[in-house]
Amino acid sequence: MTPDIPHLWPLIGVAVIIAGFILRFNPMLVVIVTAIVTAAAAGFGPMAILTAIGTGFIKTRNLPLIILLPLAVIGLLERHGLRQHAQNWISRIKSATAGRLLIVYLAARELTAAIGLTSLGGHPQMVRPLLAPMAEGATETRYGKLPERLRHKLRAYAAATDNVGLFFGEDIFVAFGAIVLMSTFLHEAGIDVEPLHIALWGIPTAIAAFVIHSWRLRRLDQSIAREMAGEPQPVVPAVATPEGR
């Protein structure tokens, strides 16, 4: 093999992970098998494989903190009716729909992330206890009891809206890690770019993300209205009964 062509064997790992996810094996198992296969394909011995897995597992211990730390508080509040209260609270706002609520949240999440306040949201502390119950509550106030499938759809939209707002907001904040990473990388490649310019050129995409996702949230409202109109409801008699009887 010539020196400027990289080893292609580790690509087997990519094939393994795609096959594993498509065949719906347990993701934990797929990931660990992929790690072993990839390292072996790169010529690592058994001890080196274990060491690579262990070192990587220790280095990434910061990742689950954001999920695990809020659980005690959120669990305690849920036990005392936080989700029920979130639903009751939104039901007082008569003009609220799931779509409108999520559009407002999307705007707030994207704008606050754009000024660096990325922690004003998140799935464990905002979406599960507050946003998802509110989306469900607003819809229930309008249409009554929701089928389970629709309830799940609303929750998935709530989670997705938090992601879209965060992703396309944070990257226009100039001190965000990604901007630093990009300008450092370009600098090393011999190109000097002002971090502020990278942040500013992100704005068109950030606006497009807001427009596209808001449009989909409006369509969500329409599809809920259509679906709930089709649900069995008190049937209006075809022949109007005379009044007063």
Binding site: P6, P10, I18, F25, N26, P27, M28, I32, T38, A39, T51, A52, I53, T55, G56, F57, I58, K59, R61, N62, L63, P64, L65, I66, I67, L68, P70, L71, A72, G75, L76, L77, R79, G81, L82, Q84, H85, A86, G116, S119, M126, V127, P129, A132, R155, A159, A160, V164, F167, D171, L181, F185, L186, I191, I198, A199, L200, W201, T205, I212
Partner: protein, 318 residues
């Protein structure tokens, strides 16, 4: 520094250790021993992981994956209040219930924005490399105290609730870390270089628009595989962006970087590899389909990728 990320590891390790003990002593639990072992191993990773030889941790991680793969991690039975009790409590506490929940982000923001430079003597109050995470930890502890005071519960009940939710999440809690580990193994093994080699060798990029499409879709595709736009950026920008878009076609590198990274984020929205954003929320919201969040995100991400191609094409070559 006074408060570092090490303290958070110990805190989380202790919470997981309590979860493990509660599971092992729960006679009603259908998978008492395997679940208990799973959480005990995970607790050890946080409590003493950095003092153990890495190979031992690696063996532990493989054991955890095998337990999860053999369906050994299950949820215990938790007694929940009745709907009437929930409503009564919600009516009694009202908006006060929001206070501890909102205290978490509020304290995190205050810590990140205002306290990051505060020193006690010569030491930083908060770990300067991990200000946000440490502030989040402080926020959660303050919020727990507030919640206990408000609901007249003990912190032990908080630990029980933490275990209930950890149980509900199951192995999905560990998946982001497993994937993070895989990303590091991928880069050790040179997967990124191999992918860049294939994309750049077999596609004709003499046409400007084709080069733009390859860069945008390559960022998304690579992020779908690696689960992280940060991993895709150096590979695609080093392979296509700098040599072709800037080198050959003299495009504006600031536009390329900004829109390139956002194209990577479109990939993040579409992949189970970004478990923290896509799989964990599905578990957290108790959705039967673990890919439900991804399915909702795909239309937004795909439309945005098309928009990005044209934005990059027209803005980069003004």
């Amino acid at each position: 520094m006074v408060l570092s990320i090490q303290h958070l590891y110990i805190l989380v390790g202790l919470i997981l250790a309590v979860t493990a003990v509660m599971t092992l002593t729960d006679r009603q639990h259908p998978k008492r021993y395997t679940s208990g072992l799973f959480w005990a191993l995970y607790a050890l990773v946080f409590l003493i992981g950095d003092k153990l030889p890495p190979a031992v941790v690696g063996a532990g991680a493989i054991t955890m994956a095998v337990i999860a793969g053999l369906r050994g991690v299950g949820a215990g039975k938790h007694r929940e209040p009745t709907p009437a009790q929930y409503q009564a409590s919600a009516a009694r506490l009202g908006n006060k219930l929001f206070m501890p929940a909102l205290a978490i982000p509020l304290v995190t923001v205050i810590g990140t924005v205002l306290m990051s430079k505060v020193k006690i003597g010569d030491a930083f109050l908060l770990d300067p490399k991990n200000t946000t995470l440490v502030s989040l930890g402080v926020g959660c502890v303050i919020a727990l105290a507030l919640a206990c005071w408000l609901t007249r519960e003990t912190p032990v009940q908080g630990l029980r609730e933490s275990r209930r939710l950890t149980d509900a999440l199951g192995w999905a809690v560990v998946l982001p870390q497993m994937l993070g580990m895989l990303g590091l193994v991928f880069s050790d093994a040179g997967v990124g270089k191999a992918v860049a080699h294939i994309t750049t060798s077999y596609i004709n990029m003499d046409i400007r628009f084709v080069a733009v499409v390859v860069y945008v879709l390559g960022m998304a595709l690579f992020t779908i595989i690696m689960g992280n736009g940060f991993a895709a950026f150096p590979v695609m920008t080093g392979g296509v962006g700098v040599p072709v878009l800037v080198g050959v076609f003299h495009g504006d590198p600031a536009v390329m970087a900004a829109i390139g990274m956002f194209s990577g984020y479109c990939g993040t929205l579409m992949t189970p590899m970004a478990a923290n954003f896509n799989i964990v929320p599905a578990a957290l919201l108790e959705l039967p389909d673990k890919n439900a969040v991804i399915k909702v995100q795909i239309p937004t991400a795909a439309a945005l990728l098309v928009v990005n191609i044209f934005l990059l094409y027209f803005l980069m070559f003004r």
